[in-house]
Amino acid sequence: MYQVKSRVIKNEEVAEGYFRLSLECPEVAEKAGPGQFVMLRVGNSYDPLLRRPFSIHRINKWSGIEILYKVIGKGTGMMAHIKAGEGASVIGSLGNGFSFTEELGEALVVGGGIGAAPLLALAEKLTGKGIGEERKVIVFLGGKSKEDILCVEEFKEIGAEVQIATDDGSLGHKGFVTELLERYLGQPQGTAPTRIFSCGPHLMSKRVAEIAKKYNTPCQVSLEAHMACGVGACLGCVIKVKGSGVRGQF
């Protein structure tokens, strides 16, 4: 874990209201794993006062990390104004992140809205494959409308299969992303060890957990905890702490 003054490489709007921020922070990147997060701070205003937690969206081992964020309030609003070359303070990487073993044969990755953010780093690791083994990665993406379906190209590029659902049917299946997951799991399955990974809004996560109960252990990342410190020092979030890392709601 480090606190670094990192340099902004790029901060671009990738979809209406969604930005991707590239940060130069090799120390953090080197130790980072998918499902972990960083605590970010830009500018020197005291309103907002606290750092904001963001999942690690992509890891560039020798240079830094990327964050995918949605502008929703004061903190993310300020982030949207940061320009390349400016500084941002990063604490990370925090949390235990997603874990799986080499043997994993099939990964079902479920993301709702901005919940897709940490899943790209995960998918990159998953498709990075095990020792000479073939692994199937299916990414299920859900959102209100087609604008909320993020990173489809990026997931495809690394060899994942992508299935999409939107509430309004503007892209893919009309309905919940969890319906796609259920449909898939309802089909005859192979014997490869399968695992579900998910990240998204509370209701989606709950449904994933229900579905997963029948089939496998779900592994969830919540983006909704309120955190002051992120490191276990304030006892504000009631989370299991291991070492000095915060575990999140895994």
Partner: protein
């Protein structure tokens, strides 16, 4: 030109930053505040604990305490409300599991503690005094989140005095009384604990506050009210330190919204011998290191050989 030449020559040596609080010698006046630094280990990856003036522990009690339901923390303009509810591992577990870690470092440990009853304050003080590696006691008589009656100690001078007398009798360690700002006259409280035998006072603890979620029409903290901390409260804290400095002789530890060296200097100039950094740790884990460096730079830039010269140096003569 003339004002420049009136200044003493720059000191050849590094300025003195050591201060003594209640017999406890600190490398520099910058401590971390109770409840904002865990038990010391949490921030050890980010800063060198050896450089701190002192570490104040999370508030401890005889028995472990679960604390309040969540949400326990919410953000407010330039501040935050917390209602952790004094969650802690209890003194025994602290001594066994937490103290060994901080004992590795060359930094005084101040145990912050509280009791639900008068007797518990005495018992906790005895227990903490018996263990190796605690250098002073900070008595939290002021946490607004304990409902068992704890609040009374913090706002009633007689009750505060009785707690401090008992603690005083129960330990040989320096006793620091931590004061609540939720009172009409903080100097009355400071005098009461001075008379009761406190060696120092620390102030301020959090201001009691509250926030409401207007969508659900519920309190935003599960505990309804919580303690306000952070830069928002700094003006109130500086005022109280200045008032207390004019009222008692005890050394004062200034607390409240300190984020930078300039903020710490406000407290020192107002009358604090040392300061504690709380909420700032969350925002900027290296805040204490930057403050320590900033204080030294200020002393050098202003040709001050010893930080003690700054304490209570506020000039209130009208300038025109």
């Amino acid at each position: 030109m003339s004002s420049e030449s009136n200044k003493p020559p720059a000191t050849d040596h590094r300025p003195l930053t050591t201060v003594t609080i209640a017999g406890l010698k600190l490398k520099n006046p910058v401590m971390v505040a109770s409840g904002t630094f865990g038990y010391g280990e949490e921030y050890s990856p980010y800063i060198d604990l050896n450089r701190l003036g002192a570490i104040v522990t999370k508030g401890l009690s005889i028995k472990p305490k679960m604390g309040n339901p969540t949400p326990r923390i919410i953000e407010t303009p330039s501040g935050m409300l917390n209602a952790i509810g004094l969650q802690n591992v209890g003194i025994d577990a602290f001594v066994k599991d937490k103290l060994p870690f901080v004992r590795q470092f060359d930094v005084p440990v101040i145990a912050n503690f509280f009791g639900n009853t008068l007797e518990e304050y005495g018992e906790a003080a005895r227990k903490l005094s018996d263990c190796d590696g605690v250098h002073a006691l900070e008595v939290n008589i002021s946490c607004p989140n304990v409902k068992e009656g704890g609040i009374v100690f913090g706002i009633d001078p007689k009750a505060a005095a009785s707690v401090i007398s008992l603690v005083r009798k129960s330990t040989k360690l320096p006793v620091i009384a931590k004061l609540s700002p939720n009172v009409t006259d903080i100097t009355v409280m400071a005098r009461a604990v001075e008379d009761a035998g406190a060696d120092a006072v620390s102030l301020i603890n959090t201001l009691t506050g509250m926030a409401i979620d207007v969508r659900t029409r519920r309190p935003r903290l599960a505990n309804i009210t919580g303690g306000l901390s952070g830069p928002a409260i700094r003006p109130v804290a500086v005022r109280m330190v200045w008032q207390v400095a004019n009222a008692v002789k005890l050394p004062i530890i200034g607390i409240g919204g300190i984020m930078t060296a300039d903020d710490a200097l406000e407290f020192i100039i107002a009358g604090a011998t040392a300061v504690q950094v709380g909420t700032a740790n969350f925002v900027n884990p290296t805040a204490t290191m930057e403050i320590i460096d900033g204080l030294e730079k200020y002393l050098i830039d202003n040709h001050i050989a010893d930080i003690k010269e700054l304490v209570r140096s506020l000039n209130i003569q009208a300038s025109h």
